[in-house]
C-alpha cells in the first residue's frame, strides 16, 4: 500500500532485487490474529503474490536454556511445561527421558503405560486445538467451538490426574508421581467413545467442505527433499511424503507394543498436512485404547537416588510430540545442575521452512500455510 514501506526494512536485511522492481513489503504481525502469538513475518509481495518471506521470532524469548543451567534437574521440570504450552506432557516426557538416559534409569512398566496414555491424550488435545484454530484461520468459526468442547474433556481428564489443566509438571525422573485416580479408566473410555463419534462430525463440517478443500489443496507445497533438508518433523515431514514417525522408526518407551498407522501425504501441501493430523487424531485414540487394555499393575516410580547428580556425559533424547521431533540435549558435568541444556523444538525447525513453503503463494494463503505448520511461539522463542 505504502510506497514508503521499503524504507522501513531493518538494517542488514536485503531481499534480492526482483525482475519487475514493483515489489512491496508487508508486515504480518507481531500483532495479528492469525500469527498464533507474537510472530512477525516480513513479506515481499508482487501484487498478491508472495516473493519472499523473512520470519522474525524471539518476542517471547526468556532464555529458557539459561534458566535451565541455573536450576537443578528436578526444578527444570515445571519450566519445560512453558515451552509448548499446548502439549506440556510431551515437554515433560522429552526432558525426563533425557535425564533418565543420562543416568541409566529405566522407569517401571506401569509408568511407561501412563506416559503413553497421557501423551496420546495430549496429542489429541493439541491436534484438536490446532484443527479449531486452523478452521478459524480459514474463516470457519464453528469447528473452533466443537474442537474446544472435546479439548475441555481431555483437560478434565488431565485435571483429575494431575490437578492441572495446562501446565501439568506431572512427569518425574524415573517414573510418575502418583497413580491414576479410580475414576480415570471409565472416564477415559467414555471420552474416547464420545470423541470417536465426533470425528465424522468434524469431517462433515470441515474436511468435506468444498470451499475448505479449495483453500487448502495445492498451496504451500514443501518437497520431500526440502522437508528433509530443513529437518522438518512430525506432520510437516509426513505431509511431504516421508514415512517417518519416531514412535515407529525409533521406538522409545513401549511404543513397539502398539498397532497404529503412520499416515503420509503425497504433495506436501497444506491439505496433506491437514489430513495427516486428522488421521493421527484417530490413531492416537486407538493407541490409548490399546494401552488402557494392556495396562499392567505395579510400581509407578523407579529407583532414583535422592539427589539427581548424573555422571559427566551428554545425551540427546527425542520424542514424537504433536508438532514433531522434540529433543533435549543435556550436558552434565556431575553437578546437580546441567552444564548445558538445549531444547530442539519442532515448531522452531518447522517454521524455518516457511519461506520455502510460501514462495509463489498468494497473500491470503499465508494464513493457511502458517496454520498448517502448527506453531506454538512459546516453544519457538523459548
Amino acid at each position: 500500500m505504502d510506497a514508503t514501506a521499503t524504507t522501513t526494512l531493518p538494517q542488514g536485511i536485503s531481499f534480492e532485487r526482483g525482475e519487475t522492481g514493483e515489489e512491496m513489503y508487508v508486515n504480518m504481525g507481531p500483532q495479528h490474529p492469525s500469527t498464533h502469538g507474537v510472530l512477525r513475518l516480513l513479506l515481499k509481495l508482487d501484487g498478491e503474490l508472495i516473493k519472499d518471506c523473512i520470519p522474525y521470532i524471539g518476542y517471547l524469548h526468556r532464555c529458557h536454556e539459561k534458566i535451565g543451567e541455573n536450576r537443578n534437574y528436578i526444578q527444570i521440570i515445571p519450566y519445560t511445561d512453558r515451552l509448548d504450552y499446548l502439549a506440556s506432557m510431551y515437554n515433560n516426557w522429552s526432558y525426563v527421558k533425557a535425564v533418565e538416559m543420562l543416568m541409566g534409569i529405566k522407569p517401571p512398566e506401569r509408568a511407561e503405560y501412563m506416559r503413553v496414555i497421557l501423551g496420546e491424550l495430549q496429542r489429541i488435545a493439541s491436534h484438536l486445538i490446532w484443527m479449531g484454530t486452523f478452521g478459524l484461520d480459514l474463516g470457519n468459526f464453528t469447528i473452533f467451538m466443537y474442537c474446544f468442547r472435546e479439548r475441555e474433556m481431555v483437560l478434565d481428564l488431565f485435571e483429575s490426574v494431575s490437578g492441572q489443566r495446562l501446565n501439568y509438571a506431572f512427569f518425574r525422573i524415573g517414573g510418575m508421581p502418583m497413580d491414576f485416580p479410580e475414576t480415570f479408566y471409565t472416564d477415559c473410555v467414555s471420552f474416547l467413545e464420545w470423541y470417536k463419534a465426533r470425528l465424522p462430525e468434524y469431517d462433515r463440517l470441515l474436511t468435506d467442505n468444498v470451499i475448505f478443500q479449495k483453500r487448502a489443496q495445492g498451496i504451500g507445497s514443501l518437497s520431500r527433499e526440502d522437508a528433509i533438508s530443513y529437518a522438518c518433523s512430525g506432520p510437516v515431514l509426513r505431509g511431504s511424503g516421508v514415512r517417518w514417525d519416531l514412535r515407529r522408526n525409533d521406538p522409545y518407551g513401549i511404543y513397539d507394543r502398539f498397532e497404529f498407522k503412520v499416515p503420509v501425504g503425497e504433495r506436501g501441501d497444506v491439505w496433506d498436512r491437514y489430513m495427516v493430523r486428522r488421521i493421527e487424531m484417530e490413531e492416537s485414540a486407538r493407541i490409548v485404547e490399546q494401552a488402557l487394555a494392556q495396562m499392567p499393575s505395579g510400581d509407578i516410580m523407579g529407583k532414583v537416588p535422592k539427589t539427581i547428580k548424573p555422571a559427566p556425559g551428554q545425551v540427546y533424547s527425542r520424542v514424537e510430540s504433536p508438532r514433531g521431533e522434540l529433543g533435549h540435549y543435556i550436558v552434565s558435568d556431575g553437578t546437580p545442575n546441567p552444564y548445558r541444556y538445549r531444547v530442539r523444538s519442532p515448531a522452531y525447525v518447522n517454521l524455518s521452512a516457511i519461506a520455502a513453503m510460501l514462495k509463489g503463494c498468494l497473500l491470503a494463503d499465508c494464513v493457511a500455510v502458517l496454520g498448517s505448520i502448527d506453531i506454538v511461539l512459546g516453544e519457538i522463542d523459548r
Binding site: P10, C63, D226, S229, G327, R344, V349, A356
Partner: protein
Amino acid sequence: MKPEEVLEKLKGQFGDAVREAEVKDQTVYLTADGARNLEMCRALHGMGFTYLNCLSGVDWKDRFEVVYNISSLTFPTKVHLRVTTSHDDPRVRSVTPLWATANWHERETWDLLGIRFDGHPDHRRILLSEDWVGHPLRKDYVDEGRYVRFTPYGEAKKAAAKAEHAAAEHKAAPATGEATSEPGKMAAKAAAPAAQAAAKPEAEAPGEAESGEA
C-alpha cells in the same frame, strides 16, 4: 550403515582430525577439530546422514564446542559430532549448504553463544533483538539487570556505535572484534568486564533519556 563402519570411514578419511571416538548403542560419539567440520559433515552427508536433528554450542570456558546430532531416515545409526574451536575467536564453517535447517540453528548459536559460522548466508541474531550486547549463554555473561536499550532499527546502529566508541576509549578492545560485520557489538562484548562496566552508563544514557521523556 553400521556405527563401526561410519567410524572407520571417517578415521580413514580424516585421520588425526578425529580426536575421540566411541560407539554406544546406535550412536557414534565423535570429537573433532573445528577447522574441518564442513568436510566431515559433507562426508557424513554423503554416507546417507541426511537429517540434522540438532545443532548446539557448548561453552567449556577454555574452548567452545559445536555439537551436531545427525541421523538418517533410512538406517538407525546416529552420529553425535562435537567440534572444538578456540574461546577467543570461536568460529567454524557453516553447514547450511548441506542442511538447510542449520540456518536457524547456527543463527541461534551465534545469538546466544557468539560462535561465528563462516559462509552462513544470513548471519544475524535470531531470538534477541539486533542491538543486544553480549551472548547470554556464555558462562561469563554478566546480566545487565535491566534491559533498557531496545531501539527501533535506525537507532540500533547508533547505540552499537556508541558502545564501540566507549570500548575504544578504554583501550580494551582487542583486534579480533574488528573483523566481524558488527564491530560495535563484538568489541563491546570482547572487551574486559571492566571496560564493559565502564561502557554501560554511556550506552544506557539514551534509554534513560527516553524513559524520562515518556
